[in-house]
Amino acid sequence: PPCKARIYTNHWAVRIAGGTEVAERIAEKYGYRNMGQIGDLKDHYHFYHSRTIKRSTLYSRGRHNFISMEPKVEWIQQQVVKRRIKR
């Protein structure tokens, strides 16, 4: 049976005001890599952290979590794997 527990990835969605440069600076400060804007969603960025667990049933904890305390970071969400099936 499929795993019912939440599976956290090492990807984050972040909303940062101020543009790409600000996002880039904040990503670098906390060890993330800015993968770019999420589709067409303005001010939303895809952050990837290579030094966190790729798949975990626990949300990631570490120094990189302090990113949420940055004033420019309006919202942050660690990405969870969703079970999706082709029909």
Partner: protein, 811 residues
């Protein structure tokens, strides 16, 4: 041994036209495409999606861009290469621009390529099939071949929204019959951004395959993607019109296309991985791309269709046909709808015809009704019914909903076994939508936390009125806990318009073009004015003023030169009719409800409103008085000819007499006016005149009778004496008057005119004195007995005995 023939170029449209008129293509599987050749006698399907009809009208999806969100697209497939659009493609899983699928031994990633072929496989290239929109541009997003997260979905759904017209998705949460899941915050935001800003503000079109969990007794209302108002949820029917085994039913399904059915039913033929062709494409996965392609044909016919226009056209043109369902019903707007198939089978030709002449629907209004937070216990094997009287937000013009589109119900329920619940919603017009059916395998204890159920079944109905929510608890044998559930909260969100979506009030500018000779270009449909509109405009404008509105928010005035202007309220001297047009009142009215002179509600200066006739008069007529506070002529009381107010008559009608402030009928002598019967009736026979019925109501006695205390008697009664008095007019008036209290009978007034006494008293010189012989002097003799005698109490036997001596004394 595949030999590709040169693809048709755009300049060979003449060849194409000829090909269309004959409708024969050399693609290998062309004749096996049963869902396109439905009208032929050879095949079994009875209802046609009329795809060839749309082609014959010249619509093949040209300049429309469709992308398949799936596991990739084989962009170099011979049947897809011609129409492949790299700008409509991306690899989210690999984070690069190339959406080529990952190949493995099982060909696991064939899904996207199969879906893509249905949409835009090239025509007449000898290979495989012909896509329904064979001139559309097709792209693919590789996003299912890896960890699918909220961000992955959002990236896919918001890819190039100004370039991509239609996103087709044939995936979703698990169809195991026990999952409740939907888009998370980023994906939801992508939907909302897409419909608001995609396609240059007309809104991206999201097409979604309905759930495939029929065998698991799943219900597609537990899928937040198909449940969304922003997606067009597509169902499937087999060639026979019967329900496929995999099909789920729910109220959010909008329409249906053909797909596979039982093992003996034919499946969908399409492009397959490794440059192949397959005839085994199945499920609702095959239906969504078909629907996307048909929508592409409609968008070619009218590129300015908004995301809501597309849904309206689908509702209008889909048909029940031979689709078999036990619950087909006609809603109050006249649309046939069922939970299996939505509004029925798509009709491509009807859609393009409708699109050609389509007028954009008015702006969407969203009415969020108040939540019902009364907690109700859901007892096993019982129903909880809750009624909510919706107003449609009449108090807020920007949110007012009269004509419905989607209806969403947000529900929070706690329950020990979610699968035992079923939920129905009945609209004010009586249309019942099954928001949730029992799910045998759903044993979750999580209930529903503000879950949004959606129904399309009330499309076109009126929003205001009583909405009834019913929740049934049918405990399964697998349920261990008998703890009852609770309905914690529910609320309605009504989507729709305040103006009829197909009203003739809207802009009459024709949009149809001769599609056989002229391909419409975007310039022909571009609005000339892009600036702000007047506040009274409801749906766009052609200039800044209220007379430039395409549609009015409130009312409009029409002038003799056939122009019109929008107003917030009709001016003084005008009223508004059912169609919100301001029309003139009668000349004397200031306000009115109609144009006749008897339809005034207030009057111009110098005129008064007549209460009964609702006309405006210069002065109040006879039998009316002027109520100065309200400037109304009100009717005088009954029988008044003139009056000052509602209870003061000043002059009576003939035959009436003024008695006090009232007019009453004048009666002959010997009769009196009976107010109840409103007639004159005879007095008692002893009365000459009277004030009412009976012998005690005489005011004057008849001849030979004497007045005795409001009665008329022939002779004076005992205790009364005959009195004669001369009246003012000199006549002798006889009457009976009461004797002095000391006398039993008398001849005149006073205590010395007694003619007989009561027992115990002796008549002495005309006075009645006590006749008792006193015995021994009593203890009370003295001042007490003096008081007794002084107060004429000696007549009382007890006091007479007590004060015998004193009472016996004269004086």
């Amino acid at each position: 041994d595949y030999k590709p023939s040169p693809p048709l170029s755009l300049s060979s449209s003449a060849q194409l036209s000829q090909a269309q008129s004959n409708i024969f293509y050399n693609d290998a599987k062309w004749s096996s495409m049963w869902y396109i050749h439905c009208s032929d006698d050879v095949h079994n399907c009875q209802s046609d999606m009329n795809i060839m009809g749309a082609w014959k009208r010249g619509y093949t999806g040209k300049d429309v861009v469709v992308t398949i969100l799936d596991d990739g697209i084989e962009r170099n497939h011979p049947d897809l290469l011609q129409n492949y659009d790299p700008q409509a493609s991306f690899d989210v899983n690999g984070n690069d621009m190339d959406p080529m699928p990952r190949y493995d031994a099982t060909n696991e990633n064939k899904h996207g390529t199969r879906c893509a072929g249905e949409v835009a496989a090239a025509a007449n290239n000898s290979h495989c099939i012909v896509g329904i929109a064979y001139n559309a541009r097709i792209g693919g997003v590789r996003m299912l071949d890896g960890d699918v997260t909220d961000m992955v979905e959002a990236k896919s759904l918001s890819l190039q929204p100004q370039h991509i017209d239609i996103y087709s998705a044939s995936w979703g949460p698990d169809d195991d019959g026990k999952t409740v899941d939907g888009p998370a915050s980023l994906a939801r935001q992508a939907f909302e951004n897409g419909i608001r800003m995609g396609r240059k503000g007309r809104g991206s079109i999201f097409v979604w395959a309905s759930g495939n969990g029929g065998r698991s007794r799943d219900h597609c209302s537990c899928d937040g993607y198909t449940n969304s108002i922003y997606t067009i949820s597509i169902s499937s029917t087999a060639e026979s019109g019967r329900k496929p085994w995999y099909l789920e039913e729910c109220s959010s399904t909008l329409t249906t296309t053909y797909s596979s059915g039982e093992n003996y039913d034919r499946k969908i033929i399409t492009t397959d991985l490794r440059h192949r062709c397959t005839d085994s494409h199945t499920g609702t996965s095959a239906s969504a791309p078909m629907a996307a392609a048909i929508i592409a044909l409609a968008l070619e016919a009218n590129p300015l269709l908004s995301w809501r226009d597309v849904q309206h056209i689908i509702v209008k043109t889909s048909r029940a046909g031979h689709l078999s369902a036990p619950d087909w019903k006609s809603n109050a707007a006249g649309y046939n709808v069922s939970h299996l198939y939505g509004f029925g089978l798509m009709d491509a030709e009807a859609m393009v015809k409708e699109a050609e002449r389509w007028r954009q629907v008015p702006a969407q209004h969203v009415c969020v009704e108040s939540a019902d937070r009364q907690i109700r216990t859901i007892r096993p094997e019982h129903v909880v019914r809750s009624v909510y009287k919706a107003t449609g937000c009449t108090d807020n013009p920007n949110h007012h909903v009269i004509y419905l589109e989607h209806v969403v119900v947000r529900i929070t329920i706690t329950h020990p076994r979610r699968g035992d619940l079923s939920i129905n919603l009945t609209s004010p017009s009586g249309t019942k939508s099954q928001l949730l059916a029992n799910r045998l395998f759903d044993h979750s204890m999580e209930g529903f936390k503000n879950w949004e159920f959606m129904t399309t079944h009330c499309w076109g109905e009126k929003a205001a009125g009583d909405w009834v929510l019913e929740i049934y608890d049918s405990p399964s044998q697998l349920r261990s806990q008998k703890v009852p559930g609770k309905l914690k909260e529910w609320s309605l969100v009504l989507y729709g318009t305040s103006v009829h979506p197909y009203s003739s009030l809207r802009n009459d500018k024709p949009r149809s073009t001769d599609t056989l000779t002229l391909t419409p270009t975007e310039e022909e449909f571009t609005e000339e004015y892009n600036g702000p509109c007047d506040a009274e405009c409801n749906d766009g404008c052609e200039g800044p003023g209220p007379h430039h509105c395409i549609n009015c928010l409130n009312y409009f005035l029409k002038f003799k030169n056939n122009t019109r202007t929008c107003v917030s309220e009709c001016p003084s001297g005008f009223f508004h009719d059912d169609r919100k047009r301001c029309k003139k009142c009668s000349s004397s009215c200031e306000t009115c409800i109609g144009s006749r002179s008897d339809q005034c509600t207030t009057c111009r200066a110098g005129h008064h409103l007549n209460e009964g006739t609702h006309t405006c008069v210069a002065s109040c007529a006879d039998s009316f008085y002027l109520d100065y506070d309200f400037n109304i002529c009100r009717k005088c009381p009954e029988n008044c000819k003139k009056c000052n107010s509602s209870n003061v008559c000043t002059e009576c009608n003939p035959g009436m007499s003024l008695q006090g402030n009232r007019c009453q009928l004048t009666c002959d002598p010997g009769t009196y006016y009976n107010g109840h019967r409103r007639t004159c009736e005879h007095c008692h026979r002893t009365c000459a005149t009277c004030a009412g019925t009976g012998a005690e109501a005489c005011t004057k006695c008849a001849e030979g009778y004497l007045m005795e205390d409001w009665r008329c008697v022939l002779t004076c009664s005992t205790g009364y004496y005959l009195s004669e008095q001369t009246s003012d007019n000199g006549h002798m008036q006889k009457s009976c008057k009461m004797c002095d209290h000391s006398c039993y009978e008398c001849l005149g007034p006073g205590e010395r005119n007694c003619s007989s006494c009561v027992s115990g008293y002796n008549l002495e010189a005309g006075a009645c004195v006590v006749s008792t012989i006193c015995k021994d002097e009593s203890w009370a003799e003295g001042s007490f007995c003096v008081l007794v005698k002084r107060n004429n109490l000696c007549q009382r036997r007890v006091l007479q005995q007590l004060c015998c001596r004193t009472c016996s004394q004269k004086g």
